[in-house]
């Protein structure tokens, strides 16, 4: 890249340089906080590490995470179940596309978390409300990508299959679905990332609503609210935050791996 300066990086610098900067930053941070009066108010790197060990050992983080993840998976499955058939319908029939697009665009524009008051009213605070928010957010990436995929199917493949006597069911199963799978999978990755962000948001909102009315730590969001308002433990909060990031990385890596295993014909 000619915009970049000519000095090449020393060998291995891409690996040790960011690590070095990180270590220096953390050390400076640790020392600065320990010397100031802000100790206990500002997270300490060593404190975050200690929280990580403690909360993993006593299972608090694992309980909360498994609660949230279970809800994400159910909401995600619901999104796939509704979104993929609807997307196929829209992609195959132009009439459906013209009729449904405006209303789907309108619904898609509503941030899922905005539904939280209605969801709490309909489904209660024990977790189902968060599930509704997640499912709502997960439907649209499936619809958008599946309809796009169905539209992009090579017409010649369809014509060839039809010429060989394939009925509509075989067309759908053997031509449409395999051809659409790569894009649908990309939609699934977007949906899952979106679902994971939505569950945390929904659980935070629910946690704030029922704060002080009997605790029910059902997920990572409620746990964070409790940590924030009851225990006031900054180090644990940072640890939870990092775990949320780690889980979304793992989810995405897992889906990429799955895509390569299941759909070797897809490009990404």
């Amino acid at each position: 890249m000619s915009l970049q300066s000519a000095h090449a990086l020393p060998r291995g610098a891409r690996w040790w340089l960011p690590l070095l900067v990180l270590v220096v930053l953390l050390l400076v941070w640790e020392v600065a906080v320990r010397r100031s009066a802000a100790q206990g108010l500002v997270p300490l790197p060593s404190g975050v590490l200690a929280s990580a060990v403690k909360l993993t050992a006593n299972g608090v983080i694992i309980d909360a995470m498994s609660g949230s993840l279970a809800r994400v998976l159910i909401g995600f499955a619901f999104g796939a179940l509704v979104g993929i058939p609807l997307g196929l319908l829209i992609g195959i029939l132009p009439v459906m596309d013209r009729a449904l697009r405006p209303v789907l665009d309108a619904l898609r524009s509503i941030a899922p978390i905005a539904w939280i008051p209605m969801a709490i009213l309909w489904l209660g605070v024990r977790g189902d409300a968060a599930l509704f928010v997640v499912a709502y957010g997960a439907v649209f990436p499936f619809i958008v990508n599946t309809s796009q995929a169905a539209r992009l199917i090579d017409r010649r493949l369809l014509a060839a299959a039809r010429a060989l006597g394939a009925g509509p069911w075989i067309l759908l199963r053997s031509v449409m679905l395999p051809g659409s799978m790569p894009l649908i999978f990309t939609g699934a990755r977007i949906a899952l990332a979106f679902a994971w962000a939505s569950i945390v948001a929904a659980e935070l909102a629910i946690g704030i609503k029922i704060q002080g009315q009997g605790r029910s730590v059902a997920g990572i969001g409620q746990l964070m609210v409790e940590t924030l308002y009851v225990q006031r433990d900054v180090d644990a909060l940072v640890f939870y935050m990092l775990t949320i990031g780690l889980v979304s990385l793992l989810i995405d890596a897992g889906l990429r791996w799955l895509q390569q295993r299941l759909l070797p014909w897809s490009q990404h």
Partner: protein, 260 residues
């Protein structure tokens, strides 16, 4: 011939409304069936609530949300752009910035809410911070990719004609990367809008998201529904504005306009 054309025109007008009509009808029937205006406020009631809110504090709520968006988004986008330019200009900076961005990116803005509340207090700073944080990454990633795709022969051509570094950046690289920048800005806006609503609901004290929760405290569910729909309309309007901008930015540059 004209008959066919007018038929088609009517069809083009009616078809897009079919889905909307269907949803409205289903909503109306459900509300009749449930017969509880708190549980499922009927469409007509929500419309009345919306009109009443227009005279009440809806305009000032929308203004508050737009202010959050304007401050947070412009800060976040300029930060993301600056970081992308820095990373593109030096291998050393790139080696530091890129891993940090990749490390922070999976931590969704939502996960920052508790810390933001702790350090900034419940108030306007929380949604603004979330929008800022959310907007940085999409435009950073997209701009960096756009700059790396710039045809190197364009850069060498400008350099061999004696262009300085500044001129190369301003007159060659930025225009060529513009479609990618705008595409990134649109992605940023999408995440920013979601963070705005979440930030206002969980940790704000103004704006349309906060107002939805406020009405819920009084069980004015017709107003809650109206507020939810306003969130949708505003999000849609913002995305449409940037989609038009994107079309405009990509038009003169077909080679890249199609890529992003």
């Amino acid at each position: 011939m004209t008959d066919m054309q007018s038929m088609r025109r009517i069809r083009n007008l009616v078809e897009p409304l079919l889905g909307l009509a269907l949803v409205l009808a289903m909503w109306h029937i459900t509300s009749r069936h449930v017969a509880n205006a708190t549980l499922v406020p009927p469409p007509a009631l929500v419309w009345k609530a919306f009109v009443a809110m227009l005279d009440d504090n809806l305009p000032q709520d929308i203004l508050a949300s737009l202010l959050h968006l304007a401050v947070g988004y412009s800060l976040g986008v300029s930060c993301g752009l600056a970081l992308a330019l820095l990373a593109a200009s030096s291998r050393w900076l790139d080696a530091v910035i890129d891993p940090f961005a990749e490390f922070l990116r999976p931590i969704s803005p939502i996960a920052w809410i508790p810390l933001a509340i702790l350090f900034l207090g419940v108030g306007r700073a929380v949604p603004i911070f979330l929008i800022f944080y959310a907007s940085i990454f999409p435009i950073f990633v997209s701009t960096l990719a756009g700059i790396r795709r710039v045809d190197p022969s364009l850069v060498s051509a400008a350099q061999s004609l004696g262009a300085s570094r500044l001129i190369v950046v301003r007159n060659v690289i930025l225009p060529a990367a513009l479609p990618a920048v705008v595409a990134g800005a649109r992605l940023s806006l999408g995440v920013a809008w979601m963070s705005l609503v979440a930030g206002e609901i969980v940790g704000g004290d103004a704006g349309i998201g906060w107002r939805i929760l406020w009405y819920q405290e009084f069980f004015q569910m017709d107003r809650v529904m109206a507020g939810i729909l306003v969130v949708g309309v505003l999000g849609f309007a913002a995305d449409t504005a940037l989609r038009l901008l994107q079309k405009h930015a990509g038009r003169w540059n077909p080679a890249q306009g199609n890529l992003t």
